[in-house]
Amino acid sequence: MSKEITVHLKIWRQKNRQDSGRFEEYTLNGVSQDQSFLEMLDQLNVKLVRDGKEPVAFDSDCREGICGSCSCMINGQAHGPEKETTTCQLHMRSFNDNDTIVIEPWRARAFPVIKDLVVDRSSFDKVIASGGFVSVNTGNAPDASAVLVSKENADKAMDAAACIGCGACVASCPNASAMLFVSAKISHLALLPQGQVEAQKRANSMVKTMDEMGFGNCTNHAECEASCPKGIDLSNIARMNREYFKAKIASEE
């Protein structure tokens, strides 16, 4: 049975990058518990527009947990209280009548706030771009059995490739470290034969770019793993640490 609840929202409002920002409070009645969290925000925005006020800016695209744009801190947790869930997959049934919900943007030097809940995550794009290309044979598509990959490694590579780059790892990390993200990107290629040719270069330059972007340093708390909507685990960070060390001692530069 669907139930309608009232929620008290405390949302971060910030006009632009320069604005210092502040919380504003709204009370929203008639919120169906079958609604998703973003639909609740849509409902709020309809109300705000109707009242002649500025709607709350937030990112979203796919609304099915695969694009990673719907990023915000809900009651102090990245993507809210549920495990392995993005904000768009979060539903109002996770909340009770008369709950207060605090919504903040990701906070990190490398993720400056553009407006309200929207942050600039292009530092992630720069890390990915610095990873460069993967050498593959051109011509006809090779037989699927031409390059052998063990089932275990294929699974691990796939698990790492599940990263949607939402930034929850940075947001939840007490040090604002991006190591879970970068390690997932390094891992999904490091585990496959196709990724071997540039493996060292990739580890080297992705870590270098990560450092330049001003992310913090991992201290192995595992808050990132606990907050990741895709369940990317810490073994990826260990793999990145290995790959980076290997790259450093082997490098001639």
């Binding site: 009651n75 903040e104 990190a108 040090n175 201290t219 708390h221 260990a238 980076y244 530069e253």
Partner: protein, 221 residues
């Protein structure tokens, strides 16, 4: 050369050196505790052990390495912590732990570390550079460190501070021990759970070991 330079200034490089020095310190703490157990055997045994240790010329090499590890560990700790604070200029207004990640031990590493640094300085002043008494064991004149130690622990306030610092050491190493394996890339389905158990066991063992000896010394007065 550029490559090595990059490694030592990179995030991962700094962390790995931190873990390496931490590993050395963990080994040192364990041997130090083993040596301290001579207190239970008696004054002569403890003094003779300390005499043998400090009269070996290699002690200067060992002390230089140890000092290097402490300084390296502390300098990197400060550098990394400052960078981490800079990585989030504006903190969250509400932030809760997921309960599946950060622990009391991991969350207090810089603070327990700071207490250990203060403890280390006082510890050297109180014992190594403390009151010098002399005794004779087997016809050899040597420092009566046993007396210095027992005298120090006559004061219950000193015992309390010592026990507090050792609890901090236990907390610091219970996270640090397993953390250094992860930092060096050793994360394994089969071995990591065992390493984590060993890490907690190490922390509890050193905290109880050192504290227990301090309390034992108090009751020798």
């Amino acid at each position: 050369m550029i490559a090595t330079h990059n490694y030592f200034t990179s995030s991962i490089g700094k962390k790995q050196i931190m873990a390496l020095t931490g590993f050395g310190l963990i080994g040192f703490v364990l041997t130090h505790l083993a040596g301290n157990f001579f207190i239970l055997v008696g004054p002569d045994a403890f003094n003779y052990y300390a005499y043998k240790l400090t009269s070996n010329p290699l002690i200067y090499v060992a002390e230089a390495v140890l000092a290097g590890m402490f300084i390296g560990h502390i300098v990197l700790a400060v550098l990394l912590k400052l960078q981490n604070m800079g990585a989030r200029p504006q903190s969250y207004f509400t932030k809760v732990r997921t309960g599946r990640g950060e622990t009391i031990a991991s969350g207090t590493m810089p603070y327990t570390g700071l207490i250990l640094m203060i403890f280390l300085i006082l510890h050297l002043l109180n014992f190594k550079f403390g009151t010098e008494y002399y005794t004779v064991v087997d016809g050899v004149k040597m420092r009566d460190l046993y007396k210095t130690v027992i005298e120090y622990f006559a004061n219950p306030l000193y015992v309390a501070w010592y026990v507090f610092a050792m609890l901090c050491l236990g907390l610091h190493t219970s996270h640090g021990f397993q953390s250094m394996f992860q930092t060096w890339g050793l994360n394994h389905k089969k071995y990591t759970p065992a390493i984590q158990t060993l890490s907690s066991a190490y922390g509890i063992f050193v905290a109880l070991g050192f504290s227990g000896l301090a309390i034992y010394c108090y009751f020798q007065n």
